[in-house]
Symmetry: C2
């Protein structure tokens, strides 16, 4: 026990240093889905390699056909039979979107006190730089007290999670032996509430698509030709509006093929978590359309969806312009459940749009890759150890939850390496991930780091029994 208290004290002792380092990392605009982010992605990878090197986890920056992976291993302890733990995080971030919508600078984080909470704002503050920092700092503190890690350790930090992890399958294939582990801890998920932790056992798959409808003509004067010539916005609106029927079901032919209904025991488990809410966290569900026959949690975690993420065409302002645009573009994403394959869904969507296209108009699609959904076992020894460790830190047992978010690595590790996965995380709906003024706070960072220490303890004591 005293050793563990020593590690917790070490976390406190070093906390300001750890926070400042994290702010350094957040200040690097490592945006993976925009070409302009490339140099900063490289900078972030090198920065992380140096930090891992410094705490006794010799790291390398592994190039891929996309963005590099940072991969580190603890030194082999000869003669010691102990489990190997892999930790996964990602250091890339979403684009900023419209900078005018941010009250805080997206890449100049500093601590601000708001109602007694010490917060910091920035793209990546919660998704996912603070998350990866919880286990890096926990490993550092443990090593510093014990002069050893709690197990054999592999750290894998990815640089293209926010664009669908296109290089991950190839990387995992190539580094299969180095990645062998007993469990992969994936730290990129939400808590259940500000006071109750969670372990995510069901994750959706993800497919992104960009669709551009073009009329037979370039831009025209809408006064002259609006009454007779094809308007791509009108065509696209019609297609988007028709993607759901009046019951909130997706109308794409074959979209639900292979989808099993949510198992009764899972429905029962989720039903206990929440009465049908009108608010989830501080997200207001008024005006939303939930698929008929499903609760909000069931729809969010267990039902496949199509979401429209963006649209653009014609006059963007500020002034008036009587234009009949030549083309219109929308960006969509599909969230998949077990039984749906990314490429099948992509091709069914494309057929659906093509079938809706008026004569003479053209459509172009852009999009590749994607991930399938994953359902994890709730019985694994590492999940149980994690559950006990989290309960010890937070005073409440973790919720076993689903998520609408995708973490492509989980599917890869689970399917390709056959390793157990435990998906844990310390973010909240109120962190504004993927949105302006993304944020995090130092107290959750501290409790996140402490959570890992308690999980390490549980794994060790369980192994000793």
């Amino acid at each position: 026990m005293s050793d563990r208290e020593d590690v917790l004290r070490e976390i406190d002792r070093n906390f300001d240093v750890a926070v400042n380092k994290l702010l350094e990392l957040i200040a690097i605009p490592s945006i993976s889905s925009e070409p302009s982010g490339e140099a900063d992605i490289a900078r972030a990878a090198e920065w992380l390699k140096a930090e891992l090197d410094a705490i006794g986890l010799p790291a390398k920056v592994v190039p891929t056909k996309g963005h590099p992976v940072v991969l580190a291993h603890s030194a082999a302890q000869l003669g010691l039979r102990r489990p190997c733990l892999l930790f996964y995080g990602h250091y890339d971030v979403q684009p900023v979107g419209d900078p005018a919508e941010w009250k805080h600078e997206p890449f100049e984080p500093r601590i601000v006190e708001e109602d007694g909470v010490h917060r910091f704002y920035g793209r990546g503050a919660s998704d996912s730089k603070s998350q990866l920092w919880t286990f890096v700092e926990a490993l550092r503190a443990w090593k510093s007290v014990h002069d050893d890690f709690p197990a054999d350790i592999t750290v894998l930090l990815e640089g293209e999670e926010e664009c669908g992890s296109p290089s991950l399958p190839e990387f995992i294939e190539a580094y299969r032996e180095e990645l062998e582990c007993d469990v992969a801890f994936i730290c990129d998920a939400e808590m259940w509430s500000p006071t109750q932790p969670a372990i995510t056992t069901q994750l959706k798959g993800l497919v992104h698509e960009k669709v551009t409808i073009s009329a037979p003509n370039p831009d025209l004067h809408s006064g002259h030709y609006g009454a007779v010539a094809a308007n791509p916005i009108r065509i696209l609106s019609s297609i988007l509006a028709g993607l759901h029927d009046e019951k909130g079901k997706v109308t794409i032919d074959g979209f639900y093929d292979g989808v099993s209904d949510i198992p009764e025991n899972v429905r029962a488990q989720w039903a206990e978590l929440a009465k049908e809410p009108t608010l989830i966290g501080d997200v207001d569900l008024t005006g939303g359309v939930t698929e008929e026959g499903y609760s909000s949690l069931e729809a969010m975690w267990g039902r496949p969806t199509v979401d429209i993420n963006g649209i653009t065409s014609g006059n963007q302002g500020p002034g008036e312009r009587s234009v009949l645009p030549g083309s219109a573009t929308s960006r969509l994403s599909f969230r998949l459940v077990p039984g749906q394959e990314p490429e099948t869904i992509r091709s069914r969507f494309r057929s659906h749009v093509e079938a809706s296209l008026p004569e003479g108009c053209r459509v172009e699609f852009e999009g590749a890759g994607g991930s399938s959904a994953v359902m994890l076992s709730q019985d694994s020894r590492f999940l149980k150890a994690s559950s006990r460790g989290l309960e010890e830190e937070w005073g409440m047992p973790p919720v076993l939850r689903g998520t609408g978010g995708a973490i492509p690595l989980v599917e890869q590790v689970n399917r390709r390496l056959g390793a157990e996965c435990v998906v844990i995380g310390f973010i909240l709906p109120s962190d504004a991930i993927h949105a302006p003024d993304e944020r995090y706070d130092t107290e959750r960072l501290r409790k996140g780091v402490r959570s890992w220490v308690r999980i390490f303890e549980e794994i060790q004591s369980h192994a000793e029994v």
Copy 2:
């Protein structure tokens, strides 16, 4: 006769100078609907004032609550009883849109030879700087030969036609006496074909609207909340897709109130102009939806419409972003026919959107002003003189046509001053007005100038009879 030949020769003699001056004018980015255009609007007004002064039409730049009007009059000829002709043009231009879609610089016009045609490209090249230049140069040439104008002349050049002429009614009220005239020649319309001129006798009215739908939440992660929270793109798409029924009729309650069907004689006249075309000029109508029961020309010239001019929301790229946007915006315009009032249509549209809005969502509208439709008499003496003059220059009688375009001044002059209006113009669908690479050519400019000289002759000889 010899005098008229002299004027035509004078046009040829001065032609290079006239073209170069016009290019100077096109080079001024006098965009009226964007705040950045203000200084250039002022510059264009002063440039025009100087040109009018120089040809014996003392001009003033009249400030309005919006952009200035350039107003010029010929010196009163004492003792001479002759008609007063007002010439209207506008010197403001549409915004450029996306500069990347232009192959030519929008404000650096120069003559380029393409297949024997001497063309110049630029925003405003055809709409409407070349148009106003036809009558200015015709008046100059006439004055230079005759040392007098063909009649009492007023020139009115507007600076906010492209944003709906918001200051025009107030200006016309204030300058009512100065604007009194026997006929207003409005030079801002299309020819029927490259070889056949036209006089426009029916013009639509115009209302612009901007509508923004907001969800109860700011931007969210679409993976987490897409299945349950309101998506403004989905709501807006639905509203836009629902603006027309399966017969191509506008579904807004009361939209057609007060609209009379197109008179049989007008239908017959238009039916003679074109068999039901699949191409109008080089505009391809494939994929377009024409209101059931009407020919293309009837829909374009005689039926009210709503056109979607722009849409924007969420991820605009280049990368993927799993965002559920907080709001979505569209820009629309309504083209009105006689019997529809701008403010009534605006308010019916707003009610329609409000009624379609899901609980918890908000809508904001932006838009003011607008113009009503106009039907002009086909029997006026000035229209007949213009018709003969145009036939003489082009070798074919002008088509009496309608247009989907709006010229707010026509309504103002016709209704408020009670003057006859003759709407003539020398642009073509292939001029790409309101679109990238707007263009014009020197040969049409020359024939436009010559057309006015022939019309002046016809007015004079008619007056003498």
